[in-house]
Symmetry: C2
Subunit: 329 residues, 2 copies
Amino acid sequence: MATIRDVAKLAGVSVATVSRVLNQNGYVNEETEKRVRQAIKKLNYKPNEVARTLFKKTSKTIGLIVPDISNPFFPELVRAVEDVMNIYDYTVILCNSDEKNEKEKEYMEVLKQKYVDGIILTTNQLELDEVSEINVPVVVLDRPLNHSFPSVIADNYGGARLATRHLYEIGCRRIAHIQGPSHVVNAVERFNGYRDEMKELGLWDERLVILGNYQLKQAKEAVLQALKEYDIDGIFAGNDAMAVGALKAVQQLGLRVPEDVAIIGYDGIPLTEMTTPELSTISQPIYEMGAIAARILVKKIEGKPLEQIHYVLPVELIERQSTRKGERK
Amino acid sequence: MATIRDVAKLAGVSVATVSRVLNQNGYVNEETEKRVRQAIKKLNYKPNEVARTLFKKTSKTIGLIVPDISNPFFPELVRAVEDVMNIYDYTVILCNSDEKNEKEKEYMEVLKQKYVDGIILTTNQLELDEVSEINVPVVVLDRPLNHSFPSVIADNYGGARLATRHLYEIGCRRIAHIQGPSHVVNAVERFNGYRDEMKELGLWDERLVILGNYQLKQAKEAVLQALKEYDIDGIFAGNDAMAVGALKAVQQLGLRVPEDVAIIGYDGIPLTEMTTPELSTISQPIYEMGAIAARILVKKIEGKPLEQIHYVLPVELIERQSTRKGERK
DNA sequence: CTGAAAGCGCTAACAC
DNA sequence: GTGTTAGCGCTTTCAG
C-alpha cells in the first residue's frame, strides 16, 4: 500500500502539498496538482482512513445497535440506515443487543473507542448515569425513550387504537389483545392504545388480554388456551409474528378467519402477505423510520440544526382477508 | 477522554510502562503495576483503538458483505457472524451489495482503507484482477466461487436432488421447478440438481422449468401461467419465497396442496412454518454456515492453519404438510 | 525492570 | 503557492 510520502516523492513535492490536493484545501499550482494526481493514480494511492481518523477524530463510521437482526422487523430498518449512511460515505457497524442493557453498554463503549461518529440505538432503557457519559451523537430509533436524544418512532398508541377500532367496525365485540413483553416500551404503548379504545367502546375486559411475548409460538399457545376459555371474535396482536400464531391457533381449533375470529397484526412486515388468509396489519413505515434516523444522525454529526427532534411517524391500517368485512357472518 | 499520558502522569511512570501493563508485555514491577492500574481506574481510561490500529495495522473489525439484509435468508447468517466475531472481540461492518459487482468493489476498497482484519463475502463473481489486489483475509460464504479463498456453502446440488426425489417418492410425476436468477450460482446449482434427478427418473421435460427470479410475486405469476398450460402435480421451488408464491398460485386456482399439487421450497427460513399448509423445504444450516465462516476468518486472521478450506455443509429435508404423503390422493 | 525516542500515516498551523 | 514541523494516541525497539 502506497502512502502519502510515496506520492509526494514521486511527484517531487511535499506531503503537505499532496494532502492539499487530496482535501482540496489551500491553494496549489495547477501544474503541481496535475503531477500529484498522476502520482496518485500511478501508485493507486488511497489515503489511510485510520490515520485520518486518528487526526480528525471522525471515522466516517456509525454504530447501529438493534436487539436482534434476525427478528424480521429489523432487517428493513437496518437496510434503510445502511442505504442512507452509504450516501453520505459512512459505514455501519452492526450490533445485536438482545435487549440486554449490559450488551448495549459494552457496544457503546467499544464503538466510542473506535471513534464512531454517531450511534443509532434501538433500546428501551438507558440508565441516566451512562447517558451523561455519552459524548457521541445518538439517535433513538423505534422505541420511545424520554430523553433529550432525537428520536424516530411510529405512533404505537394511535396504531393500536386504530386496529382495535377496525375490529369493532367490522363487527367484533369480544376483542382480545395479544400483548408483547412488558419491558418493551412499544408493546406497552400498543396495549395502552387497545385498552383505552376498548374502554371508550365500553368493551374493556381485562381477561381478554393475552400474553404472547412477541413470539409466534407463545402467542399460539396462549390463544389456543384463551379461545377455549372465553368467547372471542376478534384478535389484535401486538406484532405480526403473534398474529400468525393466533391464526394458527384459530385454524387449529377449526374456526374460520375472519368469519369466526378476525385477526389483525402489527408492524406490516412482508410475512403478513404470505399467510392464508393474508393478514390485516397496522403498517409502520419501517424503511422510512430507518432512513429518517440516519439523516438526523448525519445532521447531528455535521453540527447542523435539526428542524425537529422527536419524530412520530403515522401508521397505516392495511386491510386484508383476515378482517375482510364482507367475509364475516 | 483520558489518554495514556494522563495515566502515566498520574501514576508517576512513563507511557511505556503503562503500555506494558495494558498489553501485558514486558516486565513491570508489581507495585508499579498496581499504581498504574489504580490510575487507569481512576481516570476510567480506555485505550484509543484508532491509535492502536494505526500502529498495529489490525482493527478488530471485519467487513461482512451480503447482497441484501432484508432478504429473509440473510439475517440469520449475519447474526451468526456477529455472534461469533463478538466472542473474539471483533466488530462487524455490514454492507449491502445488491449482488452488484461494483458495489462490492467499492465496499472492499473502503473496508481495506479502514484496515479491517478480514472480509466475509457473499458473492457470485469476483473478477480475477481484483482478487490479486486483495491483501486481506477473505472467506466466501453461501456461494460457490472457484477460488483459492476458503469458503462455506451448503450442498445446493444435492439438496435439489433430494427435493426432487422427495416429490417423486410421494407420487408426483409432473414435477416443475421454479428457478432462481441465472446469475446467482446456487440457483443454477439447484437447477442442475433438479435436472439431473429428473433425467435419472426419466421425467425430464424442459417445459416444466419456470423462471421465478427468487421473488414471491414473479413466481406466483409464472406458476399461475404454467398451471394453466401444463399438467403439474409437484413443484420444487428454488427458494422459500418462491414456494410461497407457488402456494398462492395453486390455491388461487382452487387446487389443493398437497392433494393436487405438492410443493417444496428451499432454504428453510422461518417463514415456511407460517403458511397454511406449512411448507416442506430443504433446510440449510444457515446459522452454522455463518458461524463457521466467522471462525475460519478468525483463524486466517490469526495466521493459524485451517483444517479444511472448502466447507460444503449438508442440507436436510423438512417434511411438512405441503408434501405430506398421506394427504395426497 | 523502566524511560526516552521514533514512528504508524495523515493533517494543519506556521513560516517563507 | 509550498515546505517544515508538530502532533493525533499508541506501541516498540533500544538503552540504561
